[in-house]
Amino acid sequence: MPALDLPFFGSLMLGAMLVVAAYTFSVSVVAGRGRPHLLPAARHGVYATWAVTAVAVFALAYAFQAHDFRIRYVLRYSDRSMPWYYLWASLWGGQDGSLLWWSFLLTTYSAVCARTLKHRLPELAPYIMATLMSILMFFCVLMLFAANPFAVVASGAAPDGEGLNPLLQNYWMMIHPPMLYTGLVGWSVPFAFVIAALITGRLDEEWVRASRRFMLFAWIALAVGNILGMLWSYEELGWGGYWAWDPVENAAFMPLLAGTPFLHSIRLQERRGMFKVWNVFLLCLTFLMTIFGTFLTRSGMIASVHSFAKSSIGIYFVWYLLFMIAVCAGLIVWRLPLLRSKARIDSLLSRDFVFLLNNWILMGMLFFVLIATTFPLISEALRSETVTVGPGYYNKWMIPLGLVLLSLTGIGPLLAWRKSNGAYMARVMLVPGIAATTVMLLHVFVGPHFGFPAHVSSDQIYDTLTGRVLAAIYGSAPVLSTTVCTFVVAGHLQEFWRGTRVRMKNTHESFILALYEVISRAKRRYGGYLVHMGLVAMYFGFTGAAYDTDKEAALHVGESMQVRGFTMRYDGSRMEVDPNKRMIFSDFTVFKNGQRVANISPAKFIYSKPADTATTEVAIRSTLTEDIYAIMNSVNPQTKVGTFRIIVRPFVSWIWLGGLFMIFGTFVCMSPSVREVLGEVREPSPMRSAPALMTTLLLGLFVGGSLWLFGSGLAHGQTDGSSSLHAGSVTLKGPVEKQLFERLLCMCGDCQRLPLSSCSCSWADDMRAKIRDRMARGQSPEKIQADYRDKYGAKAIAIPDDHGLDRALWAVPLGLIGLAAGALVWRGRTWVGKSGHAATAAPGGSLPAADGGATLETYDAALDAELHKLDD
């Protein structure tokens, strides 16, 4: 045991963080209020805050490595047998430590930001630093008073710790949480910029330009964090899916739904000087969503499989959220006169208006998810009855919304800014239209022969008209999706092609050179297109879920099972032993059309500590067309008879591929121009250390991701020796039973939100037996569900009913989306105005002329020169 009084030292460092942050905050504010010479002091204060936070992080890391079990957090989240890298990952494995890690990332961002602001934006800089420090102060208070990672155990040091949850002991734990936090915390920086702009009243595009790369970086980090979460879930949790619409997943997803419209409408502000209020609001909302997400995750108010231990910190978040909402609202109202701008657009048939529609649908989705995620709380407050909103609900409703979004993604780039002419529009839509129709016809007529019918059967989540409509949409989602996806891809490729062709004609460059030049002259446009293509790839991957084939069988050695065209031959099982665990592998040979295509070995690992903990290791064989996902349920050691579950999931790889595309697209958006690298541009955004760092990180991420995806030969799953607890080995007989079990939640008290269709606890086993018995006696599923609800309450049902207050769950957001659409078209008409002279809608009207000398021709030449240099 170390002699150093580490717990005391750690707490002292937390106190020091608060003091230094408060000091820096004060100096920054004073610097902002007319004493710019204090700016360097504030900047060094920010650096000092970062360093002192690093001291605290290293102290905690040391406590983990030295097994200082006096510290409660170390005791709970580590034990002596853990290797050093999991001890390091334990830093963010629990609530208290993750708050410290959060603070560390925040101070890192602050320091990078302060470095970037050196000699730049002297009026905004003090308030930017002050805002960042104020956020840090909140986290310091939180740690000091409610969640101190250095708190000691009252009963004294224990000989060994409780160990990190085996679910978290895999390499994803090293990657996914830091990435996600990087994304969530990253939004603090643009938020600080906008707050500074509001306080100083410098609301022109200065702050937008300066924080642009921070926004993009935060956005992509958040997106990648979410995708990594999906990967983790898919590879390690062994339930065969990647997204369960769990409240915590939603919490990480919602900031993305608020940030994406912001990234689009900010482009409108740059072009038109309009929607300033809206953009400021969106950015504040995104930041508040990151805080709200943290609150959801940690307060334990909504049952979730991810929940950290219930704790008292929820109330701190509530107060902080309320405070921040008040601050943002107050600032926006105060600055309303400066933010007002004459909104004018030239035509509703323009890219401008599609950008607005994009904002509309994304905000609609955000609202939908927000209502559904918080509905248990709303219902609890209104009628003292908790309801549960399960994944079935989201899956049904988000598909139509997602299709609308995807269609807008396809239409937007084809329209011209400002105004599109009907005939010209028809011309640019021709090729994508033909491509989409061809693919649709192929899907309808040829698809079924390859196992991809255009329509799939779909269960109804409600027995009402709404349920039937949803089921109809869901049933035809595959063909709708392939059609829209093709339209979007063809439209985007056409954009690349047309731009390149014109340049080739004008400059006689080769295709590759012309393409490069075209992209590098409008990086944000084409980078955005690449991100769109990534979205399409992901949507295509999601569509594949409609063709999932799931089979279970008990096999003797040498027997085979057929799943979606694949023959899986069970070759026997073997056991391997290492110091920590016994590993039982089952070997399969996979054939297709009589040809051997792969060997896969799903396994079960039985750990000696905690005693006899068994984990299920799935084996996945990925190709671009489908994944074979093999789960071993059990193997009889004597007879070697095993029960296995094999899922064939088409197109899953496209989701990860889409993620790579998104990273690459964002890299293109963020990458500096050659002139910036060479330092030839003094304004507006010099290439400095921070953007360089972020761009390099992104490139590294892209290369690393590509290597992982393609380098591992697309066969992964258990190559890392990491563990996972598999949710269950449940055998389902028939679709009726599956549909019913999916709607009933396990009510044993420990399994949060797990439906009977996948929960493997003994309570669920008994309940399934009882329900099967009732079904065998001829009772209808509806009756069984109603009885289940009567017995256990509304929270036992995965999808709320379609009547009474429960209907509000979808009716309110849907109604608002409809209303907003109407309002947008109506307002749009007034924006278009009488003659649509948007360009001359400047505040000053006619402007004073310059003194003589400069003639019109001079200005024309100057304009052309500027246009040539313009880097969009």
Partner: protein, 191 residues
Amino acid sequence: MIDLLPMFFIVLGALALIVTLFWLWQSLREAVVDAGPLLAGASNGAGGRASQVSSERADLLAEKKALLLALKDLQAERDAGKLSEEDFDEFNTRYRARAREVLQALDAQVGPYREQARKLIASVSQTPAEQVVHIPAEQPAALRGAAARTPAAAAVSATEEHACKSCGVKNDGDAVFCKKCGARIAEESRA
């Protein structure tokens, strides 16, 4: 190696602590030594330029950027066949006209400063002011941002040169110390 790890984190922690103290010391020193000669440079460098940009000018600059984007979009979209020739002509003419106005207005704003610059150049170089006029006319000052100052500065430095008495290197007319050896060269003329 495993035993070294805790040590490693102690070392890192200690380093971070030293760095903290160093930066805190820096910061406190800068905060306490209020606006002394030490900080004069920092204050000028940071606080000077941007605050001179009036909100009116900022609006004009933003509009200029928006108009340039618009003109670029228009070209790209006509090239890509998304915009008819008539629409292109209509918008292009309108936006160009407005852009010219904005550029002119921006130039008008720097007009008074240009007069000052002209006088300064004239006074230093002893050339008639009229001959200097063509510099801004060729390239409107607004287009080059702060660059309007440079001709004046160049003219000043180019006027007369003083040879250093100790090393003989030629120095700018307004130099106080020699750029090579650092010896004082300007007592006589300054005194």
